[in-house]
């Protein structure tokens, strides 16, 4: 028997994502069916590059009927269902190999990786039925969160060889989707009040919309009523229920539920992790550590359990470190933070805790030496994170040193160039700094802010003419116009040795904020070379005078800014030295 595969998709205005999706899967399937439910962009144009089987289906508010329509057009033996904002993670031939393995299996569940944060690399992971034989009885059901229903469990298998990766949604996009989903779910639930799947979805949507009090009854119902036959739903219902209790601050209930669930599902890592979180928030740090350790030992649970990636590794380690820190055990705390960083170098939170611990125990220099010795600075991502921590803590030249080991690499991205330039400038290495910043291309997100720092560098070094032309260039761009105004004003003031003349007769919030921002940047300046001649003093004075004169907004903002400085330095002091000898 020849196993052919058809990709079935329904789409609407997917011009942004469709190309990536189709590219990820075209080599693995024999046929692509695309059903459009009313696109107004160039979705069709993209689709046509991959298939000629494109159909229109008028949107009737029912996802299942649209999908089933698409299935009706498919000729393959197997069907793979994807959304445009997903990609298939697989090696060539893997899909075919999988379906040819057994004649008894009719459907495979694949892990869906759902990112929480692009920046930190956190994601949720759960199984979903997306690959099944093209048989009449296997059709989508449900107006929303439609699923393929296969009634005999023995013909369903799961695999982790192939995975589906979902794109990151912007918060706005996600909320828009949630609103749409919620309306449809409410309608459906009215018709089928005993449908606990619907209740489960309702709970998730409310939770996602930050309404845990509304989500709670639905999730409780779903968890209590669904059985282990529907572990694919019961497990996430449990997980979301715990999260919901957490968001409501019902920590005792959360702990009780975790205890109960841990005895029923001892393999379920996420339960230990969330139980640990509850204990941590109740300041039961020693107990929390035990739970996190259990989670860490469990690692990734069997695929049937909806799982948040990291709860069995770096997240658990991070929280363990935090608890150890709270218990005053800095050695184990550091150890946990470091292991967390090794597990996921994108998850940067442990780095800042580690950094602060090192700084507390030693000096900025010993901190740098330690991180260097441990090899963290060879990893570009970590080096950037750590360099930024040094910079924010007020040590630009050490920040520069953090990047030294990575800056020899030939290919440098914008972020790296930006940070490198920034730290060079604020440690008084102006030519190098300007050189890095100038390499950032116009299209880059870092371009405008890089311009600002270039301007500051030019002001500090007294290159007023160049600064003026940079300011004029920035003026032309609407998004940097306010900054340009401040910079041009500063240039004129410094050049003529006059007090601030920013032509602001009334308090302008944007102007004040920009000036304050620039002042804050300036306060990062700490040249290595003590004899470095610069206009630092004058620049700070001009900005300060300007803000002072811009009543009432400016001087208040400035006062608040110094209040912030006082508070920050007090906090740092308390962190580093505790209460000192204060016993009297």
């Amino acid at each position: 028997m020849k196993d052919t595969v058809t990709l079935v998709m329904i789409v609407k205005n997917e011009s942004r994502d469709l190309e990536t999706c189709l590219a990820s899967v075209k080599e693995q399937v024999d046929e692509i069916i695309i059903v459009d439910t009313g696109s107004t962009d160039n979705t069709w144009e993209i689709a046509r590059k991959y298939t000629d089987k494109i159909f229109t289906y008028p949107w009737d508010g029912n996802f299942s009927s649209a999908r089933n329509y698409a299935i009706g057009k498919a000729t393959g033996d197997w069907l793979l269902s994807l959304d445009a904002d997903e990609v298939l993670l697989s090696k060539p031939g893997q899909l075919k190999e999988l379906i040819s393995r057994s004649t008894k299996i009719d459907a495979y569940m694949l892990p869906l990786l759902y990112p929480i944060s692009e920046e930190t690399g956190e994601y949720n992971q759960f199984l979903i039925l997306r690959l099944f034989r093209n048989k009449k009885e296997y059709r989508f059901e449900g107006t929303i969160h439609e699923q393929v229903v296969v009634h005999h469990n023995e013909v369903v298998d799961s695999t982790t060889e192939l995975m589906i990766q979902h794109n990151t949604l912007s918060p706005r996009e996600r909320n828009r989707k949630r609103g749409r989903n919620l309306a449809a779910l409410k309608k459906a639930s009215l018709l089928a009040p005993q449908n606990y799947f619907l209740q489960y979805y309702l709970g998730i949507e409310w939770l996602g919309l930050a309404k845990p009090q509304l989500a709670l009854p639905f999730l409780q119902n779903a968890y209590r009523q669904l059985t282990d036959d529907h572990l694919l739903f019961r497990a996430p219902a449990l997980r979301y229920l715990l999260i919901c209790l957490h968001n409501l601050g019902q920590l005792d209930e959360m702990i009780c539920l975790s205890l109960e669930a841990a005895s029923q599902y001892p393999e379920y890592t996420d339960v230990y992790y969330l139980g640990g979180i509850a204990l941590e928030e109740k300041k039961e740090y020693a107990l929390a550590i035990k739970w996190f350790d259990q989670a860490r030992q469990g690692g990734t649970p069997p695929a049937m359990y909806s799982h948040m990636n990291g709860t069995g590794s770096y997240l658990a380690l991070y929280h363990m470190g935090f608890c150890y820190e709270k218990l005053g055990l800095t050695g184990p705390a550091k150890d946990c933070y470091e292991r967390a960083l090794q597990e996921n170098d994108r998850y940067h939170y442990p780095a800042s805790h580690l950094f602060l611990l090192l700084l507390k125990e030693g000096s900025p220099r010993t901190t740098l030496a330690y991180l260097q010795e441990k090899g963290y600075l060879n990893n570009r991502r970590l080096a950037l994170t750590i360099a930024n921590l040094f910079f924010m803590a007020g040590y630009p030249s050490l920040a520069t040193a953090c990047l030294a080991e990575c800056s020899t690499a030939t290919e440098q991205n914008d972020e790296f160039l930006f940070q490198l330039g920034l730290y060079h400038i604020y440690s008084g290495r102006f030519p190098g700094g300007l050189h890095s910043l100038k390499q950032i291309p116009k299209e880059s997100n870092f371009f405008p802010i890089a311009q600002t720092h270039q301007a500051i560098a030019l002001l500090l070094t007294g290159r007023f003419k160049t600064c003026r032309s940079l300011g004029l260039q920035m003026w032309k761009n609407k998004s940097t116009r306010i900054t340009a105004r401040v910079i041009l004003g500063l240039t004129r003031s410094l050049q003529e040795g006059l007090a601030a003349d920013l032509a602001a007769t009334r308090s302008e919030v944007a102007l004040i904020n920009t000036s304050l921002n620039l002042l804050d940047f300036c306060y990062h300046y700490l040249p290595d070379d003590l004899d470095k001649k610069s206009y630092y003093h004058q620049l700070v004075n001009v900005l300060e005078t300007f803000l002072l004169r811009t009543t009432p907004g400016g001087n208040q903002a400035l006062a608040d800014y110094y209040d912030g400085k006082v508070n920050n330095s007090r906090e740092l002091f308390a962190y580093k030295f505790g209460n000192g000898g204060s016993k009297v």
Binding site: G394, L398, L526, N541, A559, G580
Partner: protein
């Protein structure tokens, strides 16, 4: 059973001690047995005069042999063993008779109070020793150096019970610096014990003593290693276990291994949760690591503990003046002077002779700037009546350059004939600093050429005239001084002083050696104190800068002390071009802040913290700067400043 007591001793060259010792026990013991191991002084004769039976024993590097000879001669039912540099307190005597009539005791641990340190500044350190036991032929000393008998008795007599006789107190003077040539004793002890250990390597007790001798010989790392081994083979119920742990802590602490020291402290506290010494040394260890909060916690805990059992051999003051003193220090490093004063006063109350606390109190009061206030404060807390107290205070004031007070506390002794020359000279010094030149010169005139301080007196005379600009007088005295024959550096200083009286501008700069620089710094300090900054500057400029490089920091501190602050800033900037250290950045930041230059101050606080982030004061300075900055902005707002064009700096 009778209860006669035989005092047994071994002695060698103890003529200065033996009388005191024997007098203290004369009326309580029934016989005195003395074994002399080779005295070359009058010891045996004195002993005989005092009624002792004296035997001679040629020294064979083995203390036990000598001691056992004395035991073999004893006829009493009980043995009391003392060393010649010890004595029994009067109160102990009555108890002694009671103890020896007890039926079921084979021996007693008694208290011993060790006096340590220098004469005039002694401290006590109590401990327990086994010195009173039944006289039986099978009970004999063992071990070449740390001769033991308590364990021998237990071996011979399994049923033997011991008690601690806390009311029997022996005073021991042998650890005083004046009593022994420490080094030789340490070396001798170490060699003997090493020999012994070679023959008996499994002897744990011997090893314990070996470890302690290593510690005393300042071989801390080895001491710690040996003592750890001992601890691993010692039953925690052993009477010296607590002491053993403390020695391990001390060894690690002194060997620069704070982490190990703390580990042992935490372990030790599980056995002896109330052991004040462990908390005290824990505090010290944290302090050396600049973990101030932890250190404060440990010292506070030490203070709160109850009276220590005798077998802890607790070091005097760990529950009181010592811990309080360190708490004061910690408060000071947090610039919290009120709190520091509170602790130092408490420390002084606990031990009125603890001078370090007194010194800190005086430093905080700033006696140079506030003489009247300082005096008033001290009168409230101290009894300033006794001549000794006055002298001590005068000393401290002098060291703090508070010459007016130093003088006040000296002045009442007006009869110069009876006053030691040193005091006289100091008085003259203070008078000069008060510009009471005539009085100073009268005092200085009393020194005759045969006095060892004649040169110094002359030099002060010269300085008196020099300050007043009396060129002729200066030249005359300079001539006299030269006739006495001067060291090269002193002569150079003289040249410096003479040249500065001349009008010529371009004079070749003078290069000074170590002593010359010391003298110069002294002169600068005195001139600044006299409010003569120009004169100080004149001298400073005439010295080749290169030879002052190493003392730059001292010079900066002088200017910091006396001002002007602008000069401090100048010097600090110069200093920082060569040395980038936190303390200089910090002082510069403070100076800038004083001058109202917040922008520069802010940068230098950051530099300081970057260089050395263990100093709470750097952070506190920074916080205060931001607070002042904030205040300045509020003030400017309130003043509703004129909107004229301001000139930029």
């Amino acid at each position: 059973m009778g209860n006669r007591i035989s005092l047994c001793m071994i002695v060698k060259n103890e003529e200065s001690n033996i009388r005191r010792c024997l007098a203290s026990v004369m009326d309580v013991v029934d016989e005195i047995i003395i074994v002399d191991t080779g005295s070359q002084d009058t010891t045996p004769r004195v002993a005989l005069e005092l009624g002792a039976k004296v035997y001679h024993f040629p020294w064979n590097d083995n203390f036990s042999d000598a001691r056992n000879l004395s035991l073999s001669k004893a006829a009493g039912e009980w043995i009391l063993f003392l060393d010649a540099d010890e004595e029994l307190t009067t109160e102990s005597k009555k108890v002694l008779l009671q103890l020896t009539s007890e039926e079921n005791v084979e021996g007693y641990f008694t208290r011993i109070i060790n006096y340590i340190g220098k004469d005039g500044w002694t401290e006590t350190c109590p401990d327990l020793v086994f010195r009173l036991f039944r006289n039986k032929p099978e009970y004999r000393f063992r071990g070449a150096i740390h001769e033991q008998i308590a364990d021998v008795i237990l071996e011979k007599n399994k049923q033997a019970t011991y008690r601690v006789a806390e009311d029997v107190i022996i005073l021991h003077y042998g650890y005083l610096d004046s009593q022994i040539d420490q080094k030789d004793k340490k070396k001798r002890n170490l060699t003997i014990i090493q020999k012994e250990l070679a023959a008996d390597s499994d002897n744990n007790l011997l090893k314990y003593h070996y470890g302690i001798e290593l510690y005393r010989a300042e071989r801390y790392q080895e001491a710690a290693e040996v003592l750890i081994q001992v601890a691993n083979h010692t039953d925690p119920n052993t009477i010296y276990f607590a002491k053993l742990l403390r020695y391990i802590v001390l060894s690690y602490h002194s060997a620069g291994q704070p982490a190990k020291a703390l580990e042992v402290i935490h372990l030790g506290l599980q056995f002896f949760p109330n052991y004040a010494d462990l908390y005290y040394y824990g505090g010290l260890t944290h302090l050396t690591q600049k973990q101030y909060a932890k250190a404060a916690e440990f010292f506070s805990q030490a203070i709160a503990l109850p009276e220590q059992p005798a077998q802890y051999a607790s070091f005097a003051g760990v529950r009181g003046f010592r811990s309080l003193y360190h708490l004061g220090e910690i408060a000071e490093s947090f610039l919290n002077y009120e709190e520091a004063l509170h602790y130092y006063l408490a420390s002084l109350r606990d031990n009125p002779n603890f001078q370090p606390a007194l010194e800190r109190i005086i430093v905080i009061l700033e006696p140079r700037k506030n003489p009247a206030y300082t005096r008033e404060c001290l009168e409230k807390v101290l009894d300033l009546g006794s001549p000794q107290a006055k002298l001590i205070l005068s000393n401290i004031f002098f060291n703090q350059k508070a010459y007016q007070l130093a003088l006040e506390f000296l002045e009442p002794t007006s009869d110069t004939a009876s006053v030691p020359e040193e005091i006289l000279l100091r008085k003259a010094f203070c008078l000069v600093q008060q510009r009471r030149f005539l009085e100073a010169l009268i005092l200085l005139g009393e020194f005759t050429p045969d006095s060892p301080r004649y040169l110094l007196a002359k030099f002060n005379e010269l300085f008196c005239f020099w300050v007043q600009g009396k060129k002729r007088k200066v030249q005359v005295i300079a001539g006299e001084l030269r006739d006495l024959g001067l060291a090269e550096d002193t002569d150079n200083i003289l040249k410096l002083l003479l040249k500065s009286l001349e009008k010529r501008k371009a004079v070749r700069k003078i290069c000074l050696g170590q002593d010359g620089i010391d003298l110069l710094l002294d002169l600068l300090s005195r001139l600044l104190d006299l409010n003569e900054p120009e004169k100080a500057n004149e001298l400073y400029k005439k010295v080749v800068p290169a030879c002052l490089v190493e003392r730059q920091w001292d010079i900066i501190q002088l200017y910091h002390q006396y001002g002007p602050v602008e000069r401090t800033v100048e010097l600090l900037k110069e200093y920082l071009t060569i040395n980038r250290d936190g303390k200089a950045h910090f002082l510069l930041a403070e100076s800038y802040q004083e001058l109202g230059n917040f922008v520069e101050a802010e940068q230098h606080y950051r530099y300081a913290i970057e260089q050395d982030s263990d100093q709470p004061r750097y952070f506190i300075g920074q916080i205060r700067l931001y607070e002042n900055w904030r205040r300045k902005i509020t003030e400017k707002n309130l003043a509703g400043e004129q909107h004229g064009e301001e000139e930029l700096p």
